[in-house]
Amino acid sequence: MKHLKTGRATLALAALLALPGVGGAQEMVNAEAYRAALQDKFANPGTMVGDRGETLFKTPRGPKNASLEKCDFGLGAGKLAGAYAQLPRYFKDSGKVEDLESRLVTCMIKLQGFSHDEVTRKVFGDQTKNESNTDIEAIAMYVASQSDGMPINPPLKHAKEKEALKMGEALFYTRHGPMDFSCKTCHGEDGKRIRLQELGNYASNRKNAQDTMKTWPTYRVSHGMVRTLQSRMWDCNWQMRLPDLAYGSPASVALISYLSQQAKGVALDLPGMKR
């Protein structure tokens, strides 16, 4: 049954993707049908990436030959249910506010004995070279999926959590680079588009922020692979013609803190699937 359903949804998706460019009202209808086709979780290849992530998570690896099962994502060592929904948060052991992926880096260094360079040298699979998702992308998908259906609710008690939110908001509005862009340039008003792509208003439209944030990590159809929030933060900065935003850097975590607070309260719908 599962297979039958998957096949049908994939065919429907393929048919939609094959549509030539259309305009006006019809375009909106097709966009909705396209989104509806993406809702079928059995047809979401992100699930399989998450399954691979689960195996990696539970397998002893690294110089210390340890699994990640003792990693504390904020609710206690090894407690995954609901942990992603309450990230980013402050961690006493690292003294930093960490999102899911910077937390994974910390655990892979501390528990498994990898070096920072080993963990962060190659974090994103390259869709232009037809690569598969990297290990850390797959693990992130697995851990995040354990919060499916739970409301985004990162804590805002510790002074550093409050600071991360404030810094993330400030960075959201900071214009720099050869295009003089900030995040707000594209994501500051309702109903805007870049080319044909609709843009969310994450500055002042809570629903836009929620609709976006609840489906990350996501399977990107156009990339043919899972993408995470760290990848999305890097991608926007890359499009702004800036240097590479470092994986798990303070700026990336601050932005994710801001966006998560903007989206607070909505139930996660994972794995997501996007264009």
Partner: protein, 212 residues
Amino acid sequence: MKLKNISLLATLALTATGLGAADKPVLDAKMKAAVDKMIAVSFPAGENQDLSRLKQDETIQTCNIYRDNVPEKLAAEITARETKSIKYPADGKLMGDWKKGQKYYTMGFAYRIGTVEPDDPKKDRGGNCYACHAAEPKEVAYGTIGPGLTGYGKLRGAGDDIVKYTYEKIYNSQAFTACSQMPRLGHNGILTPEKIADITAFLVSPESPVNK
């Protein structure tokens, strides 16, 4: 003379919508230093990382401090400074070839750096204007962040003043509107003066499909 009128109208429009009203800084000195530091540590040096791109000039720093809502006095300083920065093609012709302009108006993907997915640095680049502005009626894949420019020359004519305004607006949008959301395409080195003249022709020329 008409050019002056355009600037005056822009100023009046700003005042009317309250955008030009003096406002308090959003970023105080301490917060600005903290943001600068966070950026500095989050974009590390390395292969194909041009960190000079992170440097904010005086104008964009002012925009950031006031979150684009700069007091009138500072707005006047910005427009004066940015006007001075405008350079023109060697041959002095601000109206180039609209067919080339059509290409440069459209071309987008280039000039991205880093190690993950950099563009070929030799790749010719355009202004990616369709990302934000409609132009030719037949092109449906236009963005809406900026105003639509379909019929631009038909509405405004192709007089010298319009040509000059159009060229200068593309070269440096902030010469007219302090903290405009539009990139300073000439000033920041995205487009050469010659390419800007070509895009000007694409928008203004009666022969251009923008005006058909």
